[in-house]
Amino acid sequence: MTFLLAVFLLPFMVVFKISVSEMDTVFFKDIWTWSDELITLKIKIGNYIGLAKDSLYIQTYLSSIKFAAATTLICLLIAYPFAYFMARSPADRRPALLMLVMLPFWTSFLLRVYAWKMLLADSGVFNNIALTLGVIGEPVKMMNTPFSLVLGMVYTYVPFMILPLYANLVKMDLSLLEAALDLGATPWQAFWRITVPLSKSGIIAGSMLVFIPCVGEFVIPELLGGPQTLMIGRVLWDEFFSNNDWPMAAAVAVVMVLLIIVPLALFNKYQAESTGARA
């Protein structure tokens, strides 16, 4: 508990403090100053005004959310049928299937993102094969586009969607479906009105597990994204490492936390329900 307070909550307060500090030449000033028996509290909200005024930041936040939402939706579309069939396959085959899903997760995430760079580059594997076969006349531009970015994020995060969904679907009581069918529902109706509502907590947990990290993702946009794919994680990184503007970076982070606080609360609520089944 103390460990978490010290290294998790305290840093956020420090970030908030720094986001309202003034920039010295190389370092930020303290907001509290003590002189002539007078404590002064100086709060600079210039960074936040800057954030609100500069359309670049607003656009970046919006596009981060857009890309993260697209990724989440695609992950859900891939993962739901997959988790469904996995949960309905014979019980003795499930551990093997589960392991096949988990195995890429154990190999380096960085290297897997790099692999896509190799496949999608202008002189990459896909283009080379298509060129040799004569399917296309000149390389198709796939790298550094929204397509490569979303593909990379879907690829990285799809196991995070499959696992909670699988954990949820495998627990489901199949007799409920039988009852629905006995009462005259078509299989399709039974799926939409029984299975989907029952797996709601899995869907929410999985979506949040994909959406929230995607909003602030840095490595994937940096390696696979391009000029059209503004992501807030990258802006924060640049403010911090390239511009050395720590208070601005902190302000960017505070606004980002505010953006994800609702999904985060949702996640924490459903996490409690789904941990029980996650092995």
Partner: protein
């Protein structure tokens, strides 16, 4: 279903095949060769980074498993205590919180602490701290789910038979969750070995981990050295995971047999 697996494995497969490419252009096939592996053996930047990463990963795995187990136990045992929601929230949040935020906030805090007390220097210790924060969250989830499957009657039986609380923990609870602790250890180890963002924020001069080196090379373009590192990682990980899963399956079977024997005897 097959197409999802194809999607998951195609990139990894390509990485492996192309690491044996003789041509210096990563994506132009020039015949089989081991030249990049020979080059890797001389690449001191990568090797030093790897050794540092291994050290950090080992420390991180140990500390996160201890803290994660404690957190999971207290969350499991005490259903109500003041601040439980806050505590549970803080345990779970690092799972999803974007790493740039964790990294930035930890760094800013450490810098403030350093200005007040003159320590800690950024380096191995600070990276360890950051990774532990992340690893602890994963370890807690893994151990907690095992605790939930465990029947409370086992601990109660031990208490009835006269065990003191500490004995119950070491003789009953710990052996029962040892498997989950093992997989949590492996999980946090690989997480730490792989982390770029937190390490980049928290590392100081002279503490460049392997992922940071790889990342900076991958940023510049395709590099054969990255492919060889990838192949070696995949090889080590798959051997490790297969071995672990066989061991786990065997332990599971033995446990089932012992349980069956115990039921027959009674």
């Amino acid at each position: 279903m097959g197409s999802v697996f194809l999607f998951l494995y195609l990139p990894i497969f390509t990485l492996i095949v192309l690491s044996f490419n003789a041509s210096p252009m990563v994506t132009n096939w020039g015949g089989w060769s081991l030249r990049w592996y020979v080059a890797l053996a001389k690449d001191t930047e990568i090797i030093n980074g790897f050794l540092l990463s291994l050290r950090i990963a080992f420390l991180t795995a140990c500390s996160s498993v201890v803290l994660g187990t404690l957190a999971a136990l207290s969350l499991h045992r005490f259903k109500r205590f003041p601040g439980r929601t806050l505590f549970a929230g803080m345990v779970n949040s690092p799972l999803v919180m974007p790493e740039v935020i964790i990294g930035l906030s930890l760094l800013l805090m450490l810098v403030s602490v350093q200005r007040l007390f003159g320590f800690p220097e950024r380096g191995l210790g600070t990276i360890w701290l950051g990774h532990t924060l992340l690893g602890m969250a994963y370890a807690t989830v893994v151990v907690q789910s095992r605790l939930q499957e465990m029947s409370p009657s086992l601990e109660e039986a031990a208490q009835d038979l006269g065990c003191r609380p500490l004995q119950v923990f070491f003789l009953v609870t710990l052996p029962l969750i040892s498997q989950a602790i093992g997989s949590a250890w492996l999980l946090t180890f690989t997480l730490s070995l792989d982390d770029v963002v937190l390490s980049a924020f928290l590392s100081g001069p002279g503490s460049t981990t392997m992922p940071i080196t790889i990342f900076s090379r991958a940023r510049l373009g395709l590099s054969p050295s990255v492919n060889t590192v990838a192949t070696l990682t995949v090889a080590v990980v798959s051997v490790g995971v297969f071995a672990a899963s066989i061991l786990i399956a065997r332990a599971e079977r033995r446990r089932a047999q012992e349980m069956a024997a115990a039921y027959r005897a009674s």
